[in-house]
Symmetry: D3
Subunit: 282 residues, 6 copies
């Protein structure tokens, strides 16, 4: 329940604080027309509902018909939607609609590529908090459209004790102790570790999840082994293992094979190139 | 005069609607501390003032010292800033500050690469309206930090008659006529053209600028020639020539050599990968 | 694309933060009724759509029928609209609707008087930035309804180098140089001048428009002559000439006859008396 | 306790959604400077604090010195304030500061003219709700600066039963009855009357105040007489008598002499011409 | 005319900044369903319209049928409403709808209990400004639903000179003098008194209402007597008498019998226990 | 990081949309003064920082000295704070400051009473989502000041599968399955149960926490036993046990003795009577 309408309104205001002077001069009245939205590059389509809302914001009577579902892989030159309504609204909303659509489709497309590499293994590709300010909900939605999973949404809905926290608390143990005594009982506790010693310390704190930060593949394998043996020895439930840092399309499969549960990838949101999509008046 | 403070506040709200539960458990009171911001990858730094404002928003008494100027090219492992203040604020603001900093530095860095290719020639590298919703002013600022120039900011402060407008008006001539009779006298008129016939028609309409959309390099050369000859013959001031569409780091220099005035590049804002930057508590 | 709905909502809030206590006591339930809006004074009607939106904001099912078009000259006692809907909404919205309608009609009416004096000549009557804070888009719309044209909408969509800028830059030439190297290529450059020497300097800078500020009619004539001769001698396109300062209904025709292109009149927005309009329950 | 800061912020946004492109090109850095605000026309100055806040909004370190008090009558060419600070802020804020200052001073000046005519008599000159949407608190402040008094601020803080209410309730008596049974006990009840019969009926309802709407001077005198006699006869406290409608500088003194308590004048807010004020960089 | 829609939107945002993660996992698509709202405790129902708006905000096509009128006394286990629509919206809106409904019904119920005790006497039970921040209009509406009356809504729509004001002005007389010379003519003046001396002073100031603050019942009787005698002796209209402070269900009837006009009770808004109401999916 | 400043601003706006007319008439200028805040009833003080912010919002130079810490138990007639500053600000802010302070102290006080009963046992007293719309963060803070713990803050930061969800999913098992496959890995899963059969089913689903809803004390004891035995038999970690529904000061100790981990109490937020606190100008 995000204020998507408000976001769209602000995006339109940003793009036309005093109106679209070109369009208003060219389209004299309330002529109606239609336009198609065409994908120019293979990829996953995501954001059609937002594009539809952009046109609705400018012309409440506009109608957007879609020819692909959110999350579909589509090939270049595929017409994914058609909007009918006041020409003024269509022309004025074009860039804002496409800006949302291209970015979200870009994220979904890159996510899909990671997911495909990881799919043979029991592992979730998840996003991070490295998202565009004010667009997090949309970008995390795009990750799901690309087949990925979400990590926590914010600093409020998940506990991740990071290196900087450990530095402040002086040890993993002390950091875990402080957090456990305060946070509500529906939250798990995850600790970010830099080496096997910290993994060991986290295990002894009985945390719910352990993040292996910037480990190379060999270190990941050793961590997986260490966790497995320790839990078997202690008769404990195995904590979740997450890998993060320098994950790319070249190494993601090898990481997935190590047996970790979760691979988080910042680049799927912060460095996904835009998908090429355009709109044409018919 | 954008509401940067409001934008930062909303970004912080997005990242912590009910506070940073991990940090609040770990940092018990008002302990002070410091952290350094380190660039992990060569590139142009951009957004240090915004990072500073993020920390100020959380701790008005925090102090951010910077060791690089906006727009500087910095090498990997360079410490670009140091923030001192309440540890709670530093830990809580980290991700939001970095999210702004990494995106803007990514844009500035990519822009700089285009600008360097084009610099021997009399040509401006400019941005487009393909920016992130709600971040346009910041992203256009990043383009300037990277040595680029800005195109119009919105649909309200510049006239660009695009293919969809021409389709509606039925001809370049009619579109120009309608616009000229309406817009205020401080605005120039630019027409987007798809071929040399449209360039010719735009010349006859006496427009101020002509956009060559998706022309290949040969076509660009021919358009430059056509415009030069026509203006000499008629004794007219030459309109500005802008190239747009499919410009990349491979072809930008060749395009720049054709003698056009402006090259607009969408990818510098919509597809710039984030610059890797991190923060470490000292 | 201005947030007209938000503006209307705030105006209604201002007029009734805790409701309309008189009306709520008098109208017990959801009785329906109708009211007519009657112009009490000859003038140009402007703002009927805004009045309609005021009543819609209070009663989404209300219907407003209009008997005049925006920009029509209407005579005293003419009924220009009829609104039907919940009596509570009609009574509560009356003053807010009329406040918009009377101000905008007042501006349109005064504009029309200037336009009629200037109409035999090739000259645009334009507005200024001397508008009511937060109502600029509406007031500039009223100017167009009165037959006038708009000047730039803001400091962001047009370049006008004024006397204070020249004082800072030390000369017209330097000011123009600085601006030309920075602003985007779709903007023209206009310079405000105080005397013929500055007009000459502006000509030599090849600016797109020259504003003659507070020139008397004789000086205007001399400026027109100077510009004409200089451009002919140099074979240059003539810059636009704008007159501003102390223009009134007595002298506007004489100024229009001098051959300038644009006359800007602050008083049409900042000093237009309200048009007398009232609402009566039937 | 109005959100004056928010209003000023929005006014500045309206005037420069993407910055002041001229000033930003001309003033390269953070140069400081000063400017004087000079009144060009005799009148009452009002709004200096708002002008000061405009410059503070753009440059928190700017300093505004004032040489006149709010409500002072000042003569043409008087320097009323001097602002020092960043030149960028001064140039960018000029028009917004003056737009507030000129409008409010215009209202205060016109109010003062009415007040001076009425001053020998025991009568309040008061404003109406015919104010500019969103500026009511400021405009009512200007009325007080001009020596006038305020009427109710809104539909929520005062009961005025108007002709349209009476039409709905079918009679003055019924309208008064309904209101009296509902509104809180700290509010008086005023009834708008169109003729002496209604005045009589209002008297019998024992209302606190009676508005004589559009009465000519003779009718006003008769109403005053009727009220006086009726109250003496009944041993009742005399209700307040207010005159409204077609009051101007020509007839206000004659009306004041009739012995009414209050004269409300819409034109002091809805039709006050702006006072001519300018700013000059030193 | 309060922004109830905005309030509801913010309440929903507060309860689900990133959506209802449980419901979104459980309800896969757009399944429709219905739920009943059942009162679990005898009391006055208030807020059904707000509950309806909560569900509409989440599902514009949802329909809420009500089986009781606002202000009705209902018995435990009574089904007061049924909502049909998207299951997601119903589940997500449940708590927010009930939070409004339970609080408002709690206030209405407690108010009703006071009103019933006072009903045989000519006295209004009124509320105070001791309401929940941001919910004042709703809570004062709940008071009316419970049969009570409202006191002033704010510091802007009624004059109440309190003990702290008198301390600042040094005397009741001086405080009244200052207020009378400034406030608009549609407002009455009430003075809060601590003892009979102040009541006497207030009478001599000819105020419209006198508040007896924290008087015990004997003192109230003496104040009533004093006022009656003084007014008869002077031939003046009797000011309204209001009692405030330590009024509870035990003593309210005795106070009502003393002949005062108004009894204001803070606890009906600040300490009303919530009414138990629940929602069940059918 | 909640927008507490915005909340306070809106509360002040609500209480004085056009200013505090009484105070503005009585306090002519910028006189300074001081006032003490006195608790009239024994209880836990909570909200002094918010009161301080209220006065700061009206007078940025005001100073509030506090004589008690948040969460302290204070006795009647204790002076807990003293504010110095402009008298206008102190008088105008009084009610808003007290409204926050009284409500939060009321909640903290009632919470403390529950906590004291439960303190001998290993059990957390926690709040619910039954909070006042828009005040949740503050009310949950008050619960912590009273010695309680927080439950989840919203529908976004914790999974609680309630009876209505189970009805939709048809079984506990299916509901858990759906949730587990979707929510992020840092969230635990709690299931609300109505009887021992559901407790058993929840155990078999291996959930992290089980809520016993409206169980009587006997049933709670049996559920505790069932869970203990099942987990021992299966060698599983015991899920957390939470009790909710009809918990009051009479039965809370007996419930605490059963060995459950968490007792959630709606009444500490939805039905806490306000603590009596007043302000006096010195």
């Amino acid at each position: 329940m995000q204020s998507l309408d408000e976001l769209i309104f602000q995006a339109l205001q940003e793009d036309a604080p005093f109106g679209d002077i070109t369009t208003e001069a060219i389209v004299s009245g309330n002529e109606e027309g239609s336009a198609v939205i065409v994908v120019k590059q293979d990829g996953v389509i995501c954001g059609l509902k937002i594009a539809e809302k952009v046109f609705k914001a400018l012309d409440p009577n506009s109608l957007t018909e879609t020819f692909a579902d959110e999350g579909d892989w589509v090939n270049a030159l595929r017409t994914v939607a058609k909007v009918r309504g006041k020409l003024k609204a269509i022309l004025m909303g074009e860039r804002t609609a496409l800006n949302f659509l291209q970015r979200l489709s870009g994220i979904a497309t890159l996510t899909k590529k990671f997911v495909e590499k990881a799919s043979p293994y029991q592992v979730r590709i998840v996003d991070t908090r490295k998202t565009t300010p004010l667009l997090r909900i949309l970008e995390k939605y795009a990750v799901r459209c690309g087949g990925g999973f979400n990590h926590r949404f914010s600093l409020s809905d998940g506990v991740l004790i990071k290196d900087n926290h450990i530095r402040v608390a002086k040890s993993v143990t002390e950091a875990v102790r402080r957090v456990r005594s305060k946070v509500h009982h529906l939250l798990r506790i995850e600790v970010e570790t830099q080496n096997l010693e910290q993994v060991q310390e986290a295990l002894e704190c009985d945390v719910d999840a352990i993040l292996l930060d910037n480990f190379d593949v060999d270190e990941i394998r050793r961590a997986v082994q260490l966790v497995k043996e320790w839990c078997e020895r202690k008769g404990k439930r195995k904590p979740l293992l997450e890998v993060s840092g320098n994950v790319n399309l070249q190494n993601v499969e090898e990481i997935a094979q190590t047996g970790v549960d979760i691979i988080s990838v910042g680049s799927i949101t912060h460095s996904a190139p835009s998908l090429d999509i355009s709109m044409e008046i018919e």
